[in-house]
Structures are given as structure tokens and as C-alpha cells.
């Protein structure tokens, strides 16, 4: 696969439409549930799916995603399982962009070259590594380029003079962190968010997506004018947590999936 064939690039060729990017943790509560939820989210209007690889020490995550990570780790979910899931989704005809979200240590232990070769082989499109700033991402970016995969960088309200450098190197899309702190629902967004997003936009050719703390259709609508995509994680993970027991029961699963789908639809449709 070459870089031009990457689904993320094709998706953002048309920037008149805003893109919806949900995050969920792989294997929460089961791999089968994750497969069904991704399929439902694509039907509900998701353009890019972030698939979280669970980690024992998720430093950038708040309590909601920490708990999801713990549940998935109890099932022994690893990078290999996330890659298998990607392959299965592709086989079932899912054409949305698929991005793995993993902390750096599991990637290092899997092997950087092997990781990016496998992302390409299993037809994923990119990866977000929240604890790999641009100063440290050289080997990953090199391996990613070789395999036509995007290493999606993050930019934060505290990045200031770093915004330009990060913007110039941005690949796929630029993940704009809406507020200080860890992931998780917030009732209010920063007053100066629009100013920050404007600054980012003017320093990059890459599309931008905003995440961290966005949890309601109102918030999605509020940030949409300033960005090409909106990322929602914890709010959806919370909805999955609510239906945890049903999702583990094959008989009750379809009903739970339907509820999650409706929840995601409300968020996605706020962009249209």
C-alpha cells in the first residue's frame, strides 16, 4: 500500500464535510463486542475509528478509559488482538479509516518495524501514540512512511512555540487536545479553544481533529466550525460500560449495540 492510497488521505480530500472520529477500547468487554460496536458506529456515521490498545499504565487517560483498559487487560488483549480485529473488520467490508491508539511501550515491545509492517498488512491506516512526542518519534515515523501508515501527532494548548514544528510534520490529521488534563468528559470547554484551533490551522496543511473532553452533541456542534474532525472517546466508552453485562451475553448483545449506535448517531449527526 502506498501513502496516496491511505484511507485517511482519501477521506480528508473533501474538507467541506466534518468528520466524526469515535474512540473505543479493544476488548471492552470482549473482542466480539468491539467488532459489533465498530460496525454499528460506521453505520451511525463514524468516518475514522480509533481502536485503543489497553495498557497497564495509561498516563494520559482519565478514570473512564482506565477502567475500560483494565477490563480489556483482564481478557489479555494485546496489539496482536487489535491487528486481528482490524483484519476481521476489513474482511467484513468496513472501509472506514482505522487508527490504533497505543501507548509507546507495547509498540516498543512488539517491535517498531514489525508493528508498522503489520499495520499495513492488516490494512490499518494510522496510529496515535500519546506518549511519543515529536522529539522521540523518529524511528516510528521512518517505519510508518515505509509502510504508508500515518503517525498522528498531538498538539496541546500548552504547545505554544511547538505548534509550528508539529504542524509542519503532521501526517494524516493533527490531533488537537482541547484542554489540559487527561481524557474524560468535561462539562465546559476552554474559552480560548477557538483561538488555539485557529493557531493550529494556520500552521499546518494537515486536517485537524479535536478531542479530549468532548462528550455531548452540543459540544460537538460548538467545536465543529473550527476543525475538520471531532473525536469522542470517554463518553462512548462510558455508554459501553453501562451496557457491559448485556454486551457479554450473546442474547442481549444486539439490544445493547442498538443503544450504543443511537448514542453515537446523536453525536455524529451533530456534525451535519
Amino acid at each position: 500500500m502506498t501513502a496516496t492510497a491511505n484511507r485517511i488521505d482519501r477521506l480528508f480530500e473533501d474538507r467541506s464535510r466534518k468528520r466524526f472520529i469515535p474512540f473505543i477500547t479493544v476488548g471492552d468487554p470482549t473482542i466480539e463486542a468491539t467488532f459489533q460496536i465498530v460496525t454499528a458506529m460506521v453505520e451511525a456515521g463514524a468516518d475514522v475509528i480509533e481502536l485503543g490498545v489497553p495498557y497497564s499504565d495509561p498516563l494520559a487517560d482519565g478514570p473512564t478509559i482506565q477502567r475500560a483498559s483494565e477490563r480489556a487487560l483482564q481478557n489479555g488483549v494485546s496489539i496482536a488482538d487489535a491487528l486481528q480485529l482490524v483484519a476481521r473488520l476489513r474482511k467484513s467490508g468496513i472501509e472506514a479509516s482505522l487508527v490504533l491508539f497505543s501507548y509507546v511501550n507495547p509498540v516498543l515491545q512488539y517491535g517498531i518495524d514489525r508493528f508498522f509492517a503489520d499495520l499495513a498488512a492488516y490494512e490499518a491506516d494510522g496510529v496515535v501514540i500519546p506518549d511519543l512526542p515529536i522529539e522521540e518519534n523518529g524511528p516510528a515515523v521512518e517505519a510508518a512512511k515505509k509502510n504508508g501508515i500515518h503517525v498522528i501527532s498531538l498538539v496541546a494548548p500548552t504547545s505554544e512555540s511547538r505548534i509550528k514544528k508539529i504542524g509542519e510534520q503532521a501526517s494524516g490529521f493533527l490531533y488537537c487536545v482541547s484542554s489540559l488534563g487527561v481524557t474524560g468528559a468535561r462539562t465546559e470547554l476552554r474559552d480560548d479553544l477557538a483561538v488555539f484551533l485557529q493557531k493550529v490551522k494556520s500552521s499546518t496543511n494537515a486536517p485537524t481533529a479535536v478531542g479530549f473532553g468532548i462528550s455531548t452533541p452540543e459540544q460537538v456542534r460548538a467545536v465543529a466550525p473550527h476543525t475538520d474532525g471531532v473525536i469522542v472517546g470517554s463518553a462512548i466508552v462510558q455508554e459501553i460500560e453501562k451496557h457491559n453485562e448485556q454486551l457479554k451475553d450473546p442474547e442481549q448483545m444486539p439490544q445493547a449495540i442498538e443503544k450504543i449506535k443511537t448514542f453515537v448517531q446523536q453525536l455524529a449527526s451533530a456534525l451535519q
Binding site: P106, Q109, S153, T158
Partner: protein, 409 residues
């Protein structure tokens, strides 16, 4: 020639690397904060006023220099090398931790921050941070694992008495690793007004470097004290290693003295052949924890494993990146001793020298118990006695009662 010095590469380099180890693996939100810290520290250490203020606090408040004590009866009991103890237990608050806490809190003040946060395992760094916050008029929050809060109730009360807020970390193993996670999460959220006082030579660059610079006073004093007392350098220096700040502080000034053997001692817990230990350098492999590439206890998928030690201060699955570098370069030899060996060492030091060591420091004593008899009577062995054991007496009592009941170790 015993005092001959060799030249070794300067670490860390401008990327914060000790060889391949170290670096800054933290969320983007923190990157400017660590860069600002790097600049502020470089300015501070060149500013005579800062150096003087810190020096004044270290001598007039902390009580430095700490003595180097000849352990005559311990030497006799072991029948080998002459043993000297570097008495960090006599530093104010009872451990070496205050050296670094004073330095970082002064730096925080210089940077205009009014709040400091800290993580703590045994509680010694938490107490040191609470102490300097009181002394310098800063507010202080200390993150501590729920399990450690239970094990170290005396230190929890000391921190509260000193005016700090103690925040329990309830995730994971509820020990030092998780307290550090919570401290970093708090820091990410309040990065603009908060200074994170890291307690060991761990974390993203420049922390391992800054903490070393504030702790190297231990080795500098030891080096000049032994030269003054005996006119020669020691043959061997031993220190315990959890994150490894007392060990780096002790070793660093001796690194270029190639005839001084350096030994770091990790916690083997129930034994290195069990799954309950904290012997990171012996049994781990390189990985990233708390912003730094270093030896790490982890499973095949890179999930961090829980460490175990009777000593809360050594109960950490990572280790300072400079130790990883010194292990691979061969300059320092790393070994480990078990909970049971550490307990025996506590008792021996109590009875021969009238000193109750911290359980952490007892690991260094336990290694000396093995080493001294293998050395000759004209050789010199220095042990870093990093802290006093008052905080541990309940744990020691419980463990000894368990042993005398014939309980399995």
C-alpha cells in the same frame, strides 16, 4: 593509583539520553513544561544566589554535611573490610530525600509556582516535600498508593501534620508506580501553576539529571570525608536501588575513580526465582515507564508488572535511566537481596552499631554482610545508609513475629 580518574562520556546528552536510556516520553501537554524546567535549572545552578541559598538551607536547616561513621563493631562482626557508613539517616526528616526536595522546591519558587506536588512510596519523599513546602511557604499535595498508606501510616500522619494533603492512588497495585501515574495525571491537568517535585532519578528528562545534581552531594561529601580521614579512596561503595536516587548521588562523584568498585542493590523480595520481587536491573528489559526508557519489569506485551518488596521505597518496577546506562556500561555491578536478608541486616546493624536503618538501606547493609568477609582487613567498604528505620518499626515487628511463628517467607 587509587585516586586516578578516567574520563567517561558526559551524560545525559542534549536529548536527555544516558546512552540509549532516558528521553522524554510524555504527553505533548507536558513537553513545554519539561523544556521550561530544563532552562530554569540550568540558569539556577549557574546563579550564585541560588547556589548560596540552597547551600545555606542544606547546612543550617537540613544539618549537612552528614557524618561518615566508622562501623567498628559491624566490621569486627563481619571480619573483613573496614566498614564506613554515610549517615543520610541523620539528615533532617531522616533520609537523603530532603537534599533533592529542597533543591526542587527552591527551583519551583524561582519559577513562580505556588503549588508543588509529589509522589511517594515509603513516604520519605512525601515527608521531605511536605517539609520544604512548609519551610518555603508553598502548598503541597502528595500522591501515595493506598497499599503504602496502610504500610506507612506514621509517615502519612507526619505529612498531614506538616500541612500537606495526602491523596490516595487507588489504581493498579496501589503502590509507588500508581502514585506516580496519579501525580503525572494531576500535573497534566494543572501544569500551568504546579511544579512536580519528582523524588527519584526517574521520569522524563531533565528530572533524572536534576535529581542527580541535587543528590550528588552525598558522594561528594563521602569522597572528601574518607580522603580526610584515611588519605585514600574506598575500595568499594554500596547503595540500595529502587528508583535509585541515593545510589546515583553516592556513585556519581566516584564514577571516574576506576579503582572504586560500585555496587547497587535491588530488592529481591521473596526471591528472584519467584514472581514477587523488585529486581528491575537483574530481571527486567528496556521499556518506557513514567516518561523514560529504562530497564522495566514487564510482560511479553509490554504491560508493566507489579513489583514486590518488604520495603515500600524499593517497590518499583522501573529504575532511573542512568542506572540502566551504568549497568550496560559495566561501571556499576547490580545485585539483589531478599526481604529476609534485609530483615537480618536490620537486626545486625541495630545490635552492633545502635542504628535502626530504613528497610531500603538495610538492603545495602545485607549486601555488605556478603561482601565484607570476602575482602581483606586493609580494604575500605562504604555503605550509603540512606535513611533511618523509625518509619519501618511496625513492619519489622510484624515480619519478625511472622518469622518466629515459623511463617513461610
Amino acid at each position: 593509583m587509587n585516586t586516578q580518574q578516567t574520563t567517561t562520556p558526559v551524560v545525559p546528552d542534549e536529548n536527555g539520553r544516558f546512552g540509549q536510556f532516558g528521553g522524554k516520553f510524555v504527553p505533548e501537554t507536558l513537553m513545554n513544561a519539561v523544556a521550561a524546567l530544563e532552562v530554569a535549572f540550568e540558569e539556577a545552578r549557574r546563579d550564585p544566589q541560588f547556589v548560596q541559598e540552597l547551600g545555606g538551607l542544606l547546612s543550617e536547616y537540613a544539618g549537612r554535611p552528614t557524618p561518615l561513621t566508622y562501623a567498628e563493631r559491624l566490621t569486627e562482626a563481619l571480619g573483613g573490610a573496614q566498614i564506613y557508613l554515610k549517615r543520610e539517616d541523620l539528615n533532617h526528616t531522616g533520609a537523603h530525600k530532603l537534599n533533592n526536595a529542597l533543591g526542587q522546591a527552591l527551583l519551583a519558587k524561582r519559577m513562580g509556582k505556588k503549588s508543588i506536588i509529589a509522589e511517594t512510596g515509603a513516604g520519605q519523599h512525601g515527608v521531605a516535600s511536605a517539609t520544604v513546602a512548609a519551610k518555603l511557604g508553598l502548598s503541597c499535595k502528595v500522591f501515595m498508593g493506598e497499599e503504602d498508606i496502610r504500610r506507612q501510616s506514621l509517615n502519612v500522619f507526619r505529612m498531614k501534620l506538616l500541612g500537606a494533603e495526602v491523596i490516595p492512588a487507588v489504581s493498579g497495585s496501589r503502590t509507588l508506580k500508581d502514585a506516580t501515574n496519579e501525580a503525572i495525571r494531576h500535573w497534566v491537568t494543572h501544569v500551568e501553576e504546579t511544579f512536580y517535585v519528582i523524588g527519584s532519578v526517574v521520569g522524563p528528562h531533565p528530572y533524572p539529571y536534576i535529581v542527580r545534581e541535587f543528590q550528588k552531594i552525598i558522594g561528594e561529601e563521602t569522597r572528601s570525608q574518607i580522603l580526610q580521614m584515611l588519605g585514600r579512596l574506598p575500595d568499594e561503595v554500596i547503595a540500595c536501588v529502587g528508583g535509585g536516587s541515593n545510589a546515583i548521588g553516592m556513585f556519581y562523584p566516584f564514577i571516574q575513580d576506576e579503582n572504586v568498585a560500585l555496587r547497587g542493590v535491588e530488592a529481591a523480595g521473596h526471591g528472584v526465582d519467584t514472581d514477587k520481587h523488585a529486581a528491575t536491573l537483574s530481571l527486567g528489559r528496556p521499556g518506557v515507564i513514567h516518561g523514560s526508557l529504562t530497564y522495566l519489569l514487564q510482560d511479553e506485551h509490554g504491560q508493566v508488572q507489579e513489583a514486590h518488596s518488604i520495603s515500600a521505597g524499593l517497590d518499583y518496577p522501573g529504575v532511573g535511566p542512568e542506572h540502566s546506562y551504568l549497568k550496560d556500561s559495566g561501571r556499576v555491578t547490580y545485585t539483589s537481596v531478599t526481604d529476609a536478608e534485609a530483615l537480618e541486616a536490620v537486626q545486625l546493624l541495630c545490635r552492633t552499631e545502635g542504628i535502626i536503618p530504613a528497610l531500603e538501606s538495610a538492603h545495602a547493609i545485607a549486601e555488605a554482610i556478603k561482601r565484607a568477609p570476602q575482602m581483606s582487613g586493609d580494604q575500605i567498604l562504604v555503605i550509603c545508609l540512606s535513611g533511618r528505620g523509625d518509619k519501618d518499626v511496625l513492619t519489622i515487628q510484624e515480619a519478625l513475629e511472622e518469622q518466629s511463628k515459623g511463617g513461610e517467607q
